[in-house]
Every structure is written in C-alpha cells, then in structure tokens.
C-alpha cells in the first residue's frame, strides 16, 4: 500500500506542479527498451515527467507511464503511453500523445559483448490537428506527430559502453494538421498543413559510471539523429511543397543520473540539450533544453 501511495503521489505531484509538456517522437527515449540489466524481477513499471523548452516561447510538460514484462532472459515487451501539454504564445494545449509497443530480444553475452535488438510501433492518439477555439495550431503545440511509426533498433553492450542504432519510419501518415503561416499572426512556425514527415536514424553512445556503493550510476551519452529527407506540407493552393532545410543532423548531449533506492525502486534524472540542430524544424520536436525525472518500480 505504501508503494501504491508513493507512486500515485509522484504522479499527482508531477501532474500538478507543472503545466507544460512535450511531444516525443519516440526515438530519443527508446533506449530504455534496450536495458536488460534487470534480471531479478519480471515486471517493471516506470512513471516519468519531462520538462522541455521548445521553439519560440513554447514550454512542454510530458509525463509518461510504461510497463515492461520480461518473459525470460531473452525476451521482454514494453508498452508505454505518453501525454503532452504545450504552453506558449498561442495558449495551452494538452492531450494524450502516443502509445508504444516495443518487443526486445537480448542475446547471450559473449566475450563481454552483449547484443540486443528491438522492434516497435508507435500509435498516435490524435491526427495532430489540435486547435484552440477553432484556430489551427503549429506542430509545436501538437501532442503527437499523427503518424504510426515503426522502430527497428539494435544495441551493443560492451564493458561500460552501450551503443544504440535505430530507425524510426512513419508507415501510416494520419497527420491532418491544418496550420498555415499565411493566416497566423506570429511568424515563428512554418506552415504544416497535412504535414508529411520523413524517417529518422539514430546513433547513441553511452558510458556508465557506477559509484563504489553501486547506488548511483552516471550515464553521459551523445545522441546523433539524422532526419532522412525533407518534410513536406500542402500549401494554400492544394499543392505539396517540401520544406527546405528540414532534413539533416541533430546532435544532443544527455546526462542521466540513476539512483537505486533498493532492489525494486529507482529514480533517474535526465538532462539534455542539443549542440547541433536542423536548419528548419517544422515537426516541433526540437528542444533547447530537456529535464526529466523517472521513477522505476520492479516486482
């Protein structure tokens, strides 16, 4: 009962202390699905809250909850539901974002090297056309990209290093965004009417440092995301137009500090900022700063 009270209190605190949120494309946070160091317990539930600063004056708050089931030492399955709230000069908009289903297979360790792979799907809860008082909002205020995406990834764990590689491919585009820069007061966001997004490829290198009492783990990591093509939208004349400069590289620096309260409970604090961003970022995913806190309970 104490545990339930703690988890619920945490969820309430993170929901009511902040009033903002962020839309996660999914790729940045899927590395959790690779983690296979938990062997004693079959189930893990995570509750997280992420604060972010986006384009212009948009601020985000995005809690999520995930559940991981380990069937044996090889197979595990993760489901996740994300919520997002955005607040900026257009106003405040918040709604459920996406649901994730991710399957993970971990190979046997050989010569201190352990490989794992994952395949996953992201399902949007809306078509990325949330409005305020009937006015269309840019992608930066949407809680989802409005696409069903396929994730394919692999991870190599070697000594204190983890190397992730993954792709996120939109397979069904149900994006019905209807924001036109031409009909909007602010000039901060590009037109994204009937937005179509290209895939992403990710590479991440993480180094883990454990304190001598094994309570704290510090995980600095560098995350490279390449957007594989220019996104497009339908202009006011009903013609599809590519968005020049929307492809290219984003490089993020991320520092994760994990604290194991005991065998079953743990907390993580994550801080991230980009060092390199794409010239044009119409999808509203770019953050100038992200801070997240996560509570993990295994049973």
């Amino acid at each position: 009962m104490k545990k339930i009270f703690f988890i619920v209190s945490f969820a309430l605190i993170v929901n009511f202390s902040f009033a903002q949120g962020c839309s996660d494309a999914g790729l940045c946070s899927i590395n959790h699905a690779f983690q296979s160091n938990e062997k004693e317990f079959r189930n893990t539930i995570e509750v997280a809250a992420i604060l972010g600063a986006g384009e212009s004056d948009v601020k985000y708050f995005s809690p999520y909850i995930s559940y991981t089931k380990r069937f044996n030492e090889h197979y595990s399955f993760t489901s996740k539901v994300a919520f997002s709230a955005a607040k900026g000069s257009f106003g405040t908009k918040s709604q459920f974002g996406d649901a994730y289903l991710i399957g993970n297979y971990t190979f046997k360790e050989k010569n201190k090297k352990q490989w794992s792979t994952l395949v996953g799907l992201k399902f949007p809860f809306n078509s990325s056309n949330l409005k305020i008082n009937g006015y269309s909002l840019p992608m930066d205020y949407q809680s989802s990209l409005g696409t069903m995406d396929l994730f394919l990834g692999t991870n190599l764990h070697y000594k204190k290093w983890d190397f992730n590689g993954a792709v996120q491919i939109p397979v069904i585009n149900s994006n019905k965004n209807s924001y036109f820069k031409e009909y909007s007061g602010p000039d901060d966001f590009p037109s994204t009417n009937l937005f179509e997004r290209k895939p992403d490829a990710l590479l991440r290198a993480t180094y883990s440092i454990k304190t001598t009492n094994n309570k704290f783990t510090i995980k600095p990591n560098l995350l490279f995301i390449y957007h594989l093509g220019e996104d497009s939208f339908e202009n006011i004349f009903g013609k599809r137009e590519t968005i020049a400069g929307s492809d290219g590289l984003t490089i993020n620096g991320n520092l994760i500090t994990a604290y194991d309260i005991n065998k079953q409970n743990g907390i993580e604090l994550s801080l991230a900022t980009p060092f390199v961003v794409r010239e044009v970022r119409p999808d509203g995913l770019t953050r100038s700063f992200v801070a997240g806190i996560l509570y993990k309970y295994s049973f």
């Binding site: 709230a85 106003g91 008082n133 009937l194 004349f237 009903g238």
Partner: protein, 139 residues
C-alpha cells in the same frame, strides 16, 4: 499485477482530460468590408448529400484586395471544415482560405486570379468530404 492496473488507471484518470487554454496569439485580424467596397460576385450555398446549409457568399474588392464574406451562413457540424475558393465544383483546384468561421472576413491572397475561380466550397479537410458548394455569379 493489481498495482500495475491501479497505478495505470489513476494515471489515465489524472491525464485523460484534454486541456484547452485561451487562444492568446490570434490569427491576422481580418479587415471589415467597408461601405466603399465593390461587390464583385456572389452565390448561394447548396448542400451535398446528408448536409444542411443556409446562406450565401459575397466577394468584395477594395484597395487592391479581394475579400470573401459569408452571409447569413449556417451549416451542419463537421470536423475541420475549411473554406475553399475553387475552379471547379469539387475540391481539385482550389485556394484554401482556412478554417470555417461564419463571422470571419477572408482575405484572398493577391496572387490569386479571381476570375479563374467560379466556386466557393465548404470542405472537411480531415476526411476530404465536401459539405457545400456555392456557384459564384458575377455582379
């Protein structure tokens, strides 16, 4: 397992309310149609199957700018309804003027050759379903 369901249920309850604040940064304020505007064309809306519509549309010209105004307009509820200035009676070649708002005066972009556009359509963009058509008659 009970814990999982309990926590998840509470999370859903906490987050399930969609929050919508006030629109604090408005779209470009449309200029009203002044008495010196010239009425260039007008038409009455005809509904498509299963839709009810009333009212019409008028296109005015003033200071090198064409403006579109809906008159006594009402229509069945629909998601994501847009106003199109169209070359045909179906949404194939059109100018998307934005979200439907019967109280709004729509500014027609200067690059549009107005004589090429003979219809005004009310179209649901989300499901690509045509709601109503007004054939424009030159004044």
């Amino acid at each position: 397992m009970r814990t999982v369901f309990l926590v998840f249920g509470l999370f859903v309850i906490i987050c399930s309310c969609e929050v919508q604040g006030d629109l604090t940064s408005n779209t470009i304020a449309p200029a009203p149609v002044s008495p010196i505007s010239i009425l260039k064309s007008q038409g009455d809306f005809v509904p498509t199957s299963g839709i009810s519509v009333a009212g019409g549309v008028k296109i005015y010209f003033e200071a090198n700018q064409y403006k579109l105004k809906l008159e006594n307009f009402s229509i069945s509820d629909g998601p994501d309804l847009k106003v199109y200035l169209s070359k045909t009676s179906t949404p194939t070649e059109f100018v998307n003027l934005g979200n439907l708002n019967p109280a709004m005066i729509y500014s027609i972009p200067e690059s549009v050759i107005i004589s090429d556009y003979k219809y005004v359509l009310i179209n649901c963009q989300q499901y690509n379903h045509l709601f109503a058509v007004a054939s424009l008659i030159q004044n």
